[in-house]
């Protein structure tokens, strides 16, 4: 009998075993399993492994934006005490990071330089101090070339990118005609700047080769299974010769989905030196050489008829990327199904620039797409004199407006209604600029949130040992998302074990292949794999008990059936194990699957300085089953705070002369700090999604950011009457329109 329980989601799973478990831990707000290690500094991140004979690497980036390196002058630094060598490999080093989930090598080759800061060499030394000293002083000779560094100057030269998770162009009906025939319409253009994920842990890799030519990379990566393949292909070695270890990852938010230049530089250098090499990016290098979220320019059109019904939706976006890198920021991904309207045009075009790679950052697509669409919708409602919540009620689609398939679940209107009720939305004065609190102009804003749900192939092993303890193992990661805890809760619920009787081992490619963390698919995908493994274990336990699985009760380490109670340990002999494996199937096409939510924000805008403060914030979300109410809430807090940053402060500035990031550090690229964030409230609606996966849970890590920035902008408008269409909403964009002091 095979030891693997596989499921392809070709059919709904109407009854989830998680609803009939007896342990009662699923969904509960339990503390994180690994919490005590994290709060005591005992959790080991990738740069922290104590490896004997380690050489320190310092990455050397270019100080020009386009051209050719003619010489890396190793001799210029060899005399510095402690310096071992300078390694470069113009063919193998990574020009760009890879996108998430790809199974090919990223773009390699660094002699031709395509963006400012590209990593062209690594200096190796006995100490970090010596490596840094040499890395800063090393002479890199080059010939500079003309480049395209200015979005504004090149935005008329667009190309149509290849399809991503959505096609670049989509058309249904005739938006132009809908606009011409409309009783009311808006046609507005919003812009968002480049952004950086700014995970607190910089990208770091330690590369260790063994005598058999196998590489172990301690690397801060979100998707080790595909990262391993990317790394193997980049180095020209077999997949099975590479192992990535990443049990703790200091945040990713998309920036660590695919391998980044430090991994290959460390591996090449370690091979050449014949000793382990550690390469940690400096904070500016993280900004300059990993990945950014593209800037966008988005034209949004909505048209309504005389009854206030949406008749047309247009969402046309320009994003930027390096030539040959097909990824485009899919701003329209939510637009496709969020809004009704028969006439639709959703296009994405690329402006090729010599700026660093653009790729995924938390909720690629919705995060900045909804900052435009939900703000434009607010403009439309203002023009119509209709409350946005009433507008949604009237225009809520009953099925996917393009694919004409049902939604698996859709509680958007309920999110809006419940949020309105608890936030006190009815107290909002719809006329802007009416409410004052001393020197502060007060306003409220609302926005919808949608985030496409995804399921990825993922596997996990679950074992029960002779002592009746369970161990879950998988190449899944926990990047702060709560994987350790929720996977333990799923196994504990299904096997009848308290959480402390379940060990969870993650972040190692020697364990069963997994989806990794990205796109909010982690919990649904890896959780389903654990579910399937446990389902098989329950069958084995039932067989050992001589009963039907349906009549078996598992609780507190005991198996109970037919008036008999036996401890798990005594039922499993030397131990049993099973592998669970989930894969997406027809349900992806049969049902539109998404998580939904609503954001409510109250801001104060200082009437004198234009400073915007978020005073209150509420998010109401529906995302299928909530697996752990505590960690799920934290995910939403995180997403919503990203929304504050996107709306008010985050703005990665490219020097139009050479593409250099003017603000390449945390002092100048402003992520929200504690004082920028109020005591945010988060509510979840009860929901199960039987079409999504057997655990009935959907993604939540990115829902909180989707739409959030628009709610803030809408609140600023309500406070002041000023509509800023160029995010972030900084004081300079408000000052000259504020009322006289």
């Amino acid at each position: 009998m095979s030891n693997t329980n596989s499921l392809k989601m070709d059919k709904p799973v109407p009854a989830s075993l998680l609803d009939s478990g007896s342990q009662g831990i699923i969904g509960r707000p339990l503390d994180r399993k690994e919490g005590p290690l994290k709060v005591t500094g005992q959790a080991t991140y990738s740069a922290e492994y104590q490896i004997p004979n380690l050489a320190y690497g310092y990455l050397v980036g270019t100080k020009f934006g386009r051209g050719k390196v003619t010489n890396v002058d190793a001799d210029s630094v060899r005399a510095i005490p402690g310096v071992i060598d300078v390694v470069t490999d113009f063919k193998t080093f990574l020009q760009n990071s890879q996108q998430g989930g790809e199974t090919s090598a990223p773009t390699q080759g660094v002699q031709d330089v395509h963006y400012f800061g590209e990593i062209v060499a690594i200096v190796l030394a006995e100490s970090y101090e010596a490596a840094r000293d040499a890395g800063i002083r090393i002479k890199v000779e080059y010939e500079e070339a003309e480049g395209r560094f200015d979005f504004e100057a090149h935005k008329d030269e667009t190309t149509k990118p290849p399809p991503n998770n959505i096609p670049a162009h989509f058309k249904q009906g005739d938006v132009e005609k809908a606009m011409a025939d409309a009783a009311t319409s808006v046609d507005v253009t919003y812009t968002t700047p480049s952004q950086n994920s700014s995970a607190m842990e910089p990208h770091a890799s330690i590369a260790v080769w063994d005598e058999d030519g196998a590489l172990t990379l301690y690397g801060s990566y979100q998707m080790p299974t595909s990262d391993k393949t990317q790394l193997a292909k980049s180095l020209g070695v077999k997949d099975k010769k590479v192992r990535i270890i990443a049990p703790y990852i200091g945040g990713g938010f998309g920036s660590k989905l695919g391998i980044a230049p430090e991994s290959v530089a460390a591996a090449v250098a370690a091979k050449q030196l014949g000793r382990p090499v550690k390469a940690v990016m400096t904070r500016p290098q993280v900004f300059e050489t990993t990945v950014r979220r593209s800037n966008t320019e988005q034209r949004v059109r909505f048209s309504v008829d005389g009854e206030g019904k949406l008749t047309g939706v247009g969402h046309e976006t320009l994003t930027s990327n390096l030539p040959g890198e097909g990824f485009f920021e899919p701003t329209g991904i939510g637009t496709h199904f969020a809004y009704s309207g028969e006439n639709r045009l959703i296009n994405h075009d690329l402006v090729e620039l010599d700026w660093l790679l653009s790729g995924s950052m938390r909720a690629p697509g919705e995060a900045v797409g909804m900052m435009a669409t939900e703000a434009a919708l607010d403009e439309l409602c203002h023009k119509l004199g209709v409350d946005p919540i009433d507008f949604w009620k009237q225009n809520e689609p009953s099925e996917d407006p393009e694919e004409k398939i049902p939604f698996s679940t859709r509680q958007l209107v309920r999110c809006l209604e419940e949020g309105a009720e608890s936030f006190g939305w009815s107290k909002r004065n719809a006329t802007p600029g009416q409410v004052r609190d001393g020197e502060w102009m007060i306003g409220m804003g609302v926005a919808a949130a949608v985030r496409t749900n995804m399921l990825m192939e993922s596997s996990a092993k679950v074992a029960i040992d002779a002592n009746g303890r369970a161990t879950v193992s998988s190449a899944m990661t926990d990047i702060g998302t709560g994987s350790y805890t929720i996977l333990g809760q799923i196994a504990g619920e299904l096997l009848g074990l308290p959480l402390d009787q379940v060990s969870v081992v993650l972040g190692d490619t020697d364990l069963p292949d997994a989806a990794g963390s990205g796109g909010s698919w982690g919990a649904g995908s890896s959780g389903s794999a654990v579910y399937l493994a446990c389902e098989m274990l329950r069958e084995k336990l039932a067989k050992a008990m001589g009963c039907d699985p349906e009549t078996l009760t598992l609780k507190d380490g005991q198996a109970i059936a037919d008036n008999r109670q036996v401890s798990l340990g005594s039922l499993v002999g030397d131990g049993i194990e099973a592998i669970g494996s989930i894969a997406p199937g027809k349900m992806e096409k049969d049902r539109k699957q998404s998580s939904y939510g609503a954001h409510f924000v109250e801001v104060g805008v200082n009437a004198t300085t234009g400073e915007v403060r978020v005073r209150r914030m509420l998010g109401v979300f529906a995302a299928g089953r909530i697996l752990n109410a505590k960690t799920a809430r934290s995910q939403c807090l995180g997403g919503m705070t990203f929304g504050i940053g996107a709306a008010l402060t985050e703005d990665l500035v490219h020097d139009p002369r050479n593409g250099k990031l003017v603000n390449h550090d945390l002092g100048e690229y402003h992520v929200p700090v504690n004082a920028d964030v109020p005591q945010i409230e988060v509510h979840f609606l009860e929901e199960r999604d039987q079409f999504a996966n057997p655990i009935h849970a959907k993604g939540i890590g990115e829902l909180g950011i989707s739409g959030c920035g628009a709610a803030i902008g809408n609140a600023v408008f309500n406070a002041t009457g000023i509509r800023v269409r160029d995010y972030p909403i900084t004081v300079d964009k408000l000052l000259d329109q504020l009322p006289p002091v």
Binding site: G41, E48, G250, I479, G638, L666
Partner: protein
């Protein structure tokens, strides 16, 4: 040179270029203190030197002859958590955990500053500082958390401060 770190005497000959943070992480194997920026911009490297919180990346090791340094490893262990560490677990005052040692060391130092009556930017008066959520947020704003556990960090610190009071 001599230092006392978490109550243990250390002797070291640090390179004059070595920051206190690199001394801890790279030379002494105390990797609980984190490096997020190496620029004094994130607070991940916060430790206590003679009871006061500092960004250890901005301080050279050679400046700390005979100093008493407390890092996250010195506050508690997984089996015996410091009250702030326990409160961070209870309130989920972290996600990825990378900023967390710095947050907790910073909170220890911050609560002591409040006890001494030091005002902050948001204090209404220079004396008799009233302790509230706004004070916590303001005083903890040198510690970035991109996971954005801020509301939970405030809850955790408030809990401990109230229990003490």
């Amino acid at each position: 040179m001599h230092f006392t770190i978490n109550g243990t005497a250390y002797t070291a000959e640090p390179d004059i270029r070595t920051s206190l943070l690199d001394l801890l992480r790279e030379h002494l194997g105390l990797t609980g203190s984190k490096k997020g920026c190496d620029h004094g911009q994130c607070g991940a490297c916060t430790v206590l030197v003679n009871g006061r919180r500092i960004n250890s990346c901005l301080s050279l090791a050679v400046m700390h002859q005979d100093d008493e340094i407390t890092t996250i490893e010195g506050l508690g262990t997984p089996e015996d958590l410091h009250p702030l560490q326990a409160a961070f677990v209870k309130h989920d005052g972290y996600q990825c955990g990378y900023c967390t040692p710095g947050q907790i060391c910073s909170a220890v130092g911050m609560l002591d500053e409040v006890k001494k009556g030091w005002p902050s930017h948001v204090s209404e008066t220079l004396g008799d500082v009233e302790f509230n959520d706004g004070e916590i947020s303001e005083r903890m704003s040198g510690n970035l958390c991109r996971c954005a556990a801020y509301p939970n960090i405030v809850d955790a610190i408030r809990d401990v401060a109230e229990a003490k009071a």
